[in-house]
Symmetry: C2
Subunit: 141 residues, 2 copies
DNA sequence: GTGCGTGCAAACCGTTTGCAATCGG
DNA sequence: CCGATTGCAAACGGTTTGCACGCAC
């Protein structure tokens, strides 16, 4: 099913991995690229994008598609959900005791589908944004 | 807060609205554009995008951001969720009796956040895709 | 040496925008 | 008439890709 592919240990691979692991804010590929280039200028944007996408395909990290922003990458690969701040875009991990598939069984509209999982994303305002009173109170979610 | 803006009734507005309302598959802006141009060639893509975005901002329709695809538009504005077919991208409406905010209260990780709502998206395989045996059984959700 | 991995720039794709022309009120 | 709305094409932003070079093995 999968071709045998010999993987090489390159400097950029180590750097991207290190930098990404040191970030704990569910960064987008662009954010990782910037962080990488701050410490080790000269690494190509394409390489960062490629390495992250590759790691995600290998299941080493998670590629999140949240509602408002770009793709985010997540070190935590075990099943969990996220809260997103609608003001600053901050992302945090969330654990719930929800049983996906049981929820789908009780839902109206899933009948034709073989439901295999679900994404849950809470939307709100993080503490910092609430403290600076400028955030819009209207919640257009 | 909002300027008084006199809205005009234009031909393209009526056409886009009619075509969109006759589609029941949560189309993307591009899909609406194609459908519109099939029946009434000559309407600009920009106009279709503008009209849909405008209708969404006015709250007349919903602009969905689902995980894998482009923005989709939804005639149903009342609160509900969606199931997405991971093979063909088909979208269907789902109703659940979930209480968003109570779910957030019981979730670990939302503490810092003022949670205002949540998006739930079931992922699976629709009936048609299951019938044609070619769909990948591996579920990478 | 072989060929995977990289850097660069260009392509990509959906979407948005600037501007002049047009048409509704 | 006037200015909201349109069409066009160009710009946009994040991401991907083609290709020649360079480095890991």
């Amino acid at each position: 099913m999968k071709e045998i592919k010999e993987k090489r240990n390159t400097l950029q691979k180590r750097i991207v991995s290190d930098v990404f692991c040191s970030m704990n804010n569910h960064p987008s590929a662009g954010m990782v690229y910037e962080a990488v280039n701050e410490k080790f200028p000269g690494i190509s944007k394409a390489t960062v994008y490629r390495l992250l996408a590759e790691a995600a395909e290998e299941g080493k990290i998670l590629r999140l598609k949240l509602t408002d922003a770009n793709d985010r990458y997540d070190i935590t690969t075990k099943k969990h959900y996220h809260v997103v701040c609608r003001c600053c875009g901050a992302v945090a991990d969330v654990d719930t005791q929800i049983d996906d598939l049981r929820m789908a069984e009780n839902a109206v509209g899933c009948e034709g589908f073989l439901v295999e999982g679900c994404h849950v994303e809470f939307v709100g305002v993080c503490e910092e944004c609430r403290n600076q009173k400028t955030y819009k109170t209207e919640k257009n979610i």
